[in-house]
C-alpha cells in the first residue's frame, strides 16, 4: 500500500493536477477487505477526485498516512483507526478519538456485534488495558488487540 | 414558637395582654429592687454614662460603623436589581417581572436563596483561609464607606486623611481575593486571583494619581472639605477643572471594581468564575455583595470628588425658603450617648414592642411574622421621624437626595457599560494601564501643578 503516498503526493504536487484540497478521508469495511477512501478537489479541474486504496487485509489493515501532505488528515485518520482499526503509518498521534481509551473493538466494522460492545462497556471496572504494561496494544492492529484480549482473559 | 403559642390560645385576650406585662414588670422590679438595695445600679449606671460620655468619638464610630453595615445590604440589593433589570431591558428582555411589582423583590429573594443554599468546602481547600476570604473582601468594601459624606453633617467619620484611608482600605480587597483564589484549590480560582492582584494593583496607581490633581486644587485630603469647596453652582465642580482626571478616574475605578470591560477576575467565559469558582451559598453571597457595594462606593467617590458630592447643581436656597423650609443642619454627633441609644437600642426594642400586640391579638401569626410586621411599623415610624427631622434640617435631606441621585446615575452607567462592552484581554488591560493611563495622569498632575503655580503668581 506504500504507493498510495506516492499517488497522493503526485496528485498534490503535480502542476498539472494540484489536487490541494483534501475533501474527505474515510475508512470502509467491505466485509472482505478494508479500504481507505480519499476525496480530493482541485482548483484546476474544479471537480472531485476519489482515490480508493482497496484490498487492505481485515486482520492487519495498514495504510500510509497522508499527514505529511495534509496535516488536517490527522483527526480523520484517528477516526478511521478508531472506527475500523486501520493503522496509518506515519501519523504521529494515532489514538482513539471518539471511543474511550480502553475501548477494544472497532465499531464500524461489519463483524462488530452489539452484545460484544455491551459486555465491555466503560465503567466496568479494572480493564486489562490499564494493567497492560505496553501502550503498543492500544495503538495496535485488530489482530494485536484480539491477542491482547485473549491474553487478558 | 408553637410550644409557647399553644398556651396562649387558652388565655383570654385580657390575660394575653396582662401576663407579659406582669412578667416584664416583675422582672424589672426584681432587678431594680436588687440593684438599688445593693447600691450597684446607680453606680453602674453613672459609671456607664460617664464612660460613654467621655469618648463620644468612639461612640460615634461604633454607631457609624453599625449604620454603614446596615446600609450596605439594601444598597447591594438595590444595585443588583438595577443590574438585572437594566441589562435585561437593554438586551430586549423583560428581566425580573414576577417577584413584586416590576420584580423589585427579585434581588432580595436571591439573597434569601443564597442564604438557604448549601455552603460546601472543596476537598483539598485551605479551610480557614477559604472561610475568611469573603469576610475580608466584604469588610474591605464596607470600611471604605466610613469616609463618604452623604449629606451636610451626615457622614460616618470626617478624617483629614480620608482619601488616603480610602485607597489604603480599598487595596485590602485584593488580599481577600488572593486568599480566595489560593485557598480554594482550583486552577481557575488561582488564575482569577492572580489576575485580580495584577489588575487592581496596577490600576491603583492611575486612580490615585488622577485624584492628586483634585487634592492640589482642594488643598486637603478630607472628603468633607472637598465637597464643601465645590459648593455653589455646578460650574464649581471639579469635573470642569479636571476633565482628564475625571475620565482617568472613572476608567480606573471601573477596573478597580472589576466591572466590565475589566471584569477579568470573574471572566465567566474564560476562567469559569475566577476566584469565586468554588464558592457557594452565603460565602459567594459575600463576594457578590462586596462587588456591588464596591460599585456604589466608586460611584459615590466619583461624585464626591468631581461632581460636587451632595451639592445641588444650582443654589436652590431661595426656593426652599419660599417653600417655608429652614436651612441649617444639625450635627448628629452632638447627641452623644443618645445617638448610641438611638441607633443601637431603639430599633430592636421598638420592633419587639410594636410586634407584641400583633402577636398577642392574632394568634394565627407566628412570632417571626409578628416581628416582620413590627419591623415594618418601626420603619414607618422612622420614616416619619426623618420627615419631621427634615422639617427643621432641610438641606441635610436634600443633600442626601442629591448625593444618592448622582451616585445612582453612575451606578446605572456601570451597568450600562456591562450590558454593552465585551471584555478586554489581560495584556491589553495592563498595557492600557501602564502605557496610557499612567502617563496621562502624570501629565494631568503636572499641568495642574503648573497652573496652580501660575495662578498664584498672577494673583500675586
Amino acid at each position: 500500500m506504500a504507493h498510495v503516498a506516492d499517488v497522493m503526493r503526485t496528485l498534490h504536487d503535480d502542476p498539472g493536477l494540484r489536487f490541494e484540497l483534501l475533501a474527505d478521508l474515510c475508512g470502509v469495511d467491505t466485509g472482505t477487505a478494508m479500504e481507505v477512501v480519499y476525496h480530493l478537489w482541485s482548483a484546476g479541474t474544479r471537480d472531485w477526485l476519489r482515490v480508493v486504496a482497496t484490498g487492505l487485509s481485515r486482520e492487519d489493515p495498514r495504510a500510509p498516512s497522508v499527514t505529511f501532505l495534509w496535516r488536517g488528515a490527522e483527526w480523520a485518520e484517528r477516526e478511521a483507526y478508531d472506527m475500523f482499526g486501520i493503522v496509518f503509518e506515519g501519523n504521529r498521534d494515532l489514538r482513539r478519538i471518539y471511543m474511550p481509551p480502553d475501548y477494544r473493538s472497532f465499531p464500524l466494522r461489519k463483524d462488530f456485534l452489539l452484545p460484544d460492545d455491551a459486555s465491555r462497556s466503560p465503567g466496568e471496572g479494572v480493564r486489562p488495558m490499564e494493567a497492560a504494561p505496553e501502550p503498543a496494544v492500544l495503538a495496535g492492529t485488530p489482530a494485536d488487540v484480539r491477542r491482547a484480549r485473549e491474553a487478558s482473559r | 414558637m408553637t410550644i409557647v403559642s399553644r398556651p396562649w390560645q387558652r388565655l383570654s385576650p385580657a390575660g394575653r395582654v396582662l401576663l407579659p406585662l406582669a412578667a416584664v414588670a416583675g422582672g424589672l422590679g426584681v432587678v431594680f429592687l436588687g440593684g438599688v438595695s445593693s447600691g450597684i445600679l446607680p453606680n453602674l449606671w453613672s459609671w456607664v454614662y460617664e464612660a460613654l460620655n467621655d469618648n463620644v468619638p468612639l461612640l460615634r464610630f461604633i454607631v457609624a460603623a453599625t449604620a454603614v453595615l446596615l446600609f450596605t445590604v439594601p444598597t447591594a440589593f438595590v444595585i443588583i436589581f438595577l443590574e438585572m433589570k437594566v441589562i435585561a431591558l437593554q438586551n430586549l428582555r423583560l428581566g425580573p417581572n414576577r417577584q413584586g411589582p416590576w420584580g423589585v423583590l427579585a434581588s432580595t429573594l436571591h439573597g434569601f436563596k443564597v442564604l438557604a443554599k448549601e455552603d460546601f468546602t472543596p476537598t483539598g481547600a485551605d479551610v480557614p483561609v477559604f472561610t475568611l476570604a469573603p469576610v475580608v473582601v466584604y469588610l474591605a468594601s464596607v470600611m471604605s464607606f466610613l469616609v463618604i459624606p452623604f449629606a451636610p453633617g451626615l457622614f460616618a467619620q470626617d478624617m483629614n486623611l480620608a482619601l488616603l484611608y480610602f485607597f489604603a482600605v480599598g487595596g485590602l480587597g485584593v488580599v481577600g481575593l488572593m486568599m480566595a483564589g489560593w485557598s480554594s484549590f482550583n486552577k481557575y480560582s488561582l488564575l482569577g486571583a492572580l489576575r485580580a492582584a495584577a489588575q487592581i494593583i496596577s490600576y491603583e496607581i492611575p486612580l490615585t494619581l488622577s485624584v492628586v490633581g483634585v487634592i492640589l486644587l482642594a488643598g486637603t485630603l478630607s472628603l468633607n472639605t472637598i465637597v464643601h469647596q465645590q459648593a455653589g453652582t455646578f460650574l464649581d465642580w471639579y469635573v470642569f477643572r479636571q476633565p482628564l482626571a475625571f475620565v482617568i478616574f472613572f476608567i480606573a475605578a471601573t477596573a478597580e471594581g472589576n466591572r466590565t470591560p475589566f471584569d477579568l477576575t470573574e471572566a465567566d467565559s474564560e476562567i469559569v468564575a475566577g476566584f469565586a469558582t468554588e464558592y457557594s451559598g452565603m460565602r459567594f453571597g459575600f463576594f457578590f455583595f462586596a462587588e456591588y457595594v464596591n460599585v456604589f462606593i466608586l460611584s459615590a467617590l466619583t461624585v464626591t470628588l468631581f461632581l460636587g458630592g451632595w451639592n445641588a447643581p444650582l443654589d436652590l436656597t431661595p426656593v426652599w425658603q419660599a417653600l417655608g423650609a429652614h436651612p441649617g443642619a444639625i450635627d448628629l454627633s452632638g447627641l452623644g450617648v443618645g445617638l448610641l441609644i438611638a441607633v443601637l437600642v431603639v430599633p430592636p426594642i421598638l420592633t419587639v414592642l410594636l410586634a407584641l400586640p400583633f402577636w398577642m391579638l392574632f394568634t394565627r401569626l407566628r412570632f417571626w411574622q409578628a416581628l416582620v410586621i413590627g419591623f415594618l411599623c418601626f420603619n414607618a415610624l422612622a420614616g416619619a421621624a426623618v420627615l419631621i427631622w427634615a422639617a427643621f434640617s432641610f438641606d441635610a435631606v436634600m443633600g442626601l437626595l442629591w448625593f444618592l441621585g448622582k451616585t445612582y446615575v453612575f451606578v446605572v452607567i456601570f451597568v450600562w457599560m456591562r450590558a454593552t462592552l465585551p471584555r478586554v484581554r489581560i495584556d491589553q488591560l495592563m498595557g492600557f494601564a501602564w502605557k496610557w493611563l499612567l502617563p496621562a495622569s502624570l501629565a494631568n498632575l503636572f499641568v495642574t501643578a503648573l497652573a496652580i503655580l501660575i495662578i498664584a503668581q498672577v494673583r500675586g
Binding site: 483534501l22 471518539y98 | 484549590f185 471584555r423
Partner: protein, 407 residues
C-alpha cells in the same frame, strides 16, 4: 499522577475521585501514553501546568474537553478530547432505511440541521438517478439559505459572548427566532426540521411561511446590521479579534479547513460554486473572501455571507417555478449498487456524505464528513502562543458544533 499502589479504575467510574488523594485532580491520564505525541504533551516542563477546559465549561460550544498546557496565562500546547457526544450515527445509518437516514442525520449539526439532512438526501438521489422537481430544488435552496442566516446570526452572538459581551447573542437570537418561526411554519419544527425527502421536500410553501418571510425580508438586513454595530466597530472587540488566530492559505489548505475559516484566508472555495449541486448555477451571488485569516476576518465574512444569502433568497422568491415538490418514487428505495459522494456548503463549510449502496434499501456505508470536525482541529495549530482568553475567541470564530464533531 497516581502513585503506583493506587488502584487505577475506569476513567468513567465516578467513584474514582472519592477515596483517592486530591492530587489525582491532575489532568494527566492514568494509563501509559499511547502515542509519542501524547507522551510529549503530558510531560510538563518547568513552570507549566495542565488545565481542563470542559467538558462542562461556559464557552466550549457543546461537550468538548480541551486540555490546555499553560505557562502562566500563555498557552503552550493543547489537546482536544472528543467523543463526549458520540452517538455512532454512521453505524445507525447502516442499520436503517434510506428514509430513516434523514432523521438520523438531522441532529448532527443542530444549529443548521437543514444542511445535515440535505446531504444524505443528495447522495441518495445521486445513487437513485432521481431528477428532483425544480420547485423542490428552489424550495431547498430557500430553506437552506434561511437556515444559513439564522446560523450566522447566532455565530456572531456566540463570538461576542465568548469575548464577554452578553448582549449581542440575544440580538442574534431575535433574528434566529424570526427565521426559525417561519421555518417552523414551513417544516413543522423549529430546530430539527426533517424537511428534506429523497426526491423532493416534505411539503410545499404555505401562506404563513410566505407572509412571515415577507415581513422579515423587509427589515432583515437593517436589523442585523443595526444589532451588529454593537460589536462591529467596538474598539475592544476589534482589538481582541484582529490578528488573532491568523492562518495563511497554504496552512489552511494543509489543515483541510473549509467554509468561512478557509475563505477568510482568501481562497474562494465554496461548494455552491466549486461544484454546484442544486439550482445554484442559475442564481448569481458572490463568494465573499478576505485576505487576513484572523478571527476578525472570519467574523466580517459571516456578515458578508448573510448579505449574499439575503440576495439569493430574493432571487429565489422571484424565480420560484410552479410544479410538484416531490418526485415520483416508490416507497421502498433500493438504489443501484455503487458509491456516491455528495457535498454541500453548510454554514460551517463543506458538508459531505460518502454513501455506498449494495443494492439493498439500506446504505452499506454512510460516511458523514462534518466541517466542524476539521475546523476544530485547527485550534491546536492556531492557539499556542496566545493567552487563555484567546482560545475562546479562536474556537468561537472557527464555530464548531459538537453535535457534528462527535457524530
Amino acid at each position: 499522577m497516581t502513585s503506583p499502589e493506587t488502584k487505577v479504575r475506569s476513567l468513567d467510574d465516578p467513584s474514582v475521585f472519592v477515596d483517592t488523594p486530591a492530587t489525582i485532580y491532575d489532568a494527566i491520564p492514568p494509563y501509559p501514553p499511547r502515542t509519542e505525541r501524547e507522551a510529549e504533551f503530558y510531560t510538563l516542563r518547568e513552570g507549566e501546568m495542565l488545565i481542563n477546559i470542559g467538558p462542562q465549561h461556559p464557552s466550549t460550544h457543546g461537550v468538548l474537553r480541551v486540555v490546555l498546557k499553560i505557562d502562566g496565562e500563555r498557552i503552550v500546547d493543547l489537546d482536544p478530547v472528543l467523543g463526549y457526544l458520540h452517538r455512532g450515527v454512521e453505524k445507525i445509518c447502516e442499520n436503517s432505511d434510506w428514509h430513516m437516514v434523514i432523521s438520523h442525520c438531522d441532529p448532527l449539526e443542530y444549529i443548521a440541521s437543514m444542511f445535515s439532512e440535505y446531504v444524505p438526501v443528495l447522495a441518495a438521489e445521486k445513487l437513485l438517478d432521481v431528477t428532483v422537481p425544480r420547485r423542490a430544488e428552489y424550495i431547498r435552496v430557500l430553506a437552506c439559505e434561511l437556515n444559513r442566516i439564522s446560523s450566522h446570526a447566532l455565530f456572531m452572538g456566540w463570538l461576542a459572548l465568548d469575548l464577554g459581551g452578553i448582549t449581542p447573542i440575544l440580538y442574534g437570537f431575535l433574528e434566529r427566532d424570526e427565521i426559525v418561526e417561519m421555518l417552523a411554519a414551513l417544516t413543522g419544527q423549529r430546530l430539527l426540521f426533517n424537511y428534506m425527502r429523497i426526491g423532493g421536500v416534505n411539503g410545499d410553501l404555505n401562506h404563513e411561511f410566505m407572509s412571515r418571510l415577507g415581513d422579515w425580508m423587509s427589515h432583515a438586513l437593517r436589523h442585523i446590521e443595526d444589532s451588529m454595530t454593537l460589536i462591529n466597530s467596538n474598539e475592544i472587540f476589534v482589538g481582541r479579534t484582529r490578528g488573532l488566530g491568523r492562518i495563511d492559505r497554504q496552512t489552511a489548505l494543509r489543515m483541510c479547513l473549509s467554509g468561512p475559516p478557509l475563505r477568510a484566508t482568501g481562497i474562494p472555495y465554496d461548494v455552491r460554486r466549486a461544484h454546484p449541486y442544486s439550482v445554484y448555477p442559475e442564481l448569481e451571488f458572490e463568494i465573499p473572501t478576505r485576505e487576513e485569516g484572523d478571527s476578525y476576518a472570519r467574523y466580517l465574512l459571516h456578515l458578508d455571507e448573510i448579505k449574499q444569502s439575503i440576495h439569493i433568497i430574493d432571487q429565489v422568491l422571484h424565480r420560484l417555478p410552479d410544479g410538484p415538490v416531490m418526485a415520483k418514487l416508490p416507497r421502498l428505495l433500493r438504489p443501484r449498487p455503487g458509491r456516491a459522494w455528495a457535498a454541500i456548503e453548510s454554514p460551517r463549510g463543506q458538508y459531505g456524505v460518502y454513501a455506498m449502496s449494495d443494492g439493498t434499501d439500506q446504505p452499506f456505508r454512510l460516511r458523514i464528513h462534518d466541517p466542524s470536525f476539521f475546523n476544530l482541529q485547527a485550534v491546536g495549530l492556531l492557539t499556542p502562543g496566545h493567552l487563555i482568553a484567546d482560545i475562546m475567541a479562536i474556537m468561537a470564530s472557527l464555530d464548531p458544533i459538537m453535535g457534528g464533531v462527535d457524530k
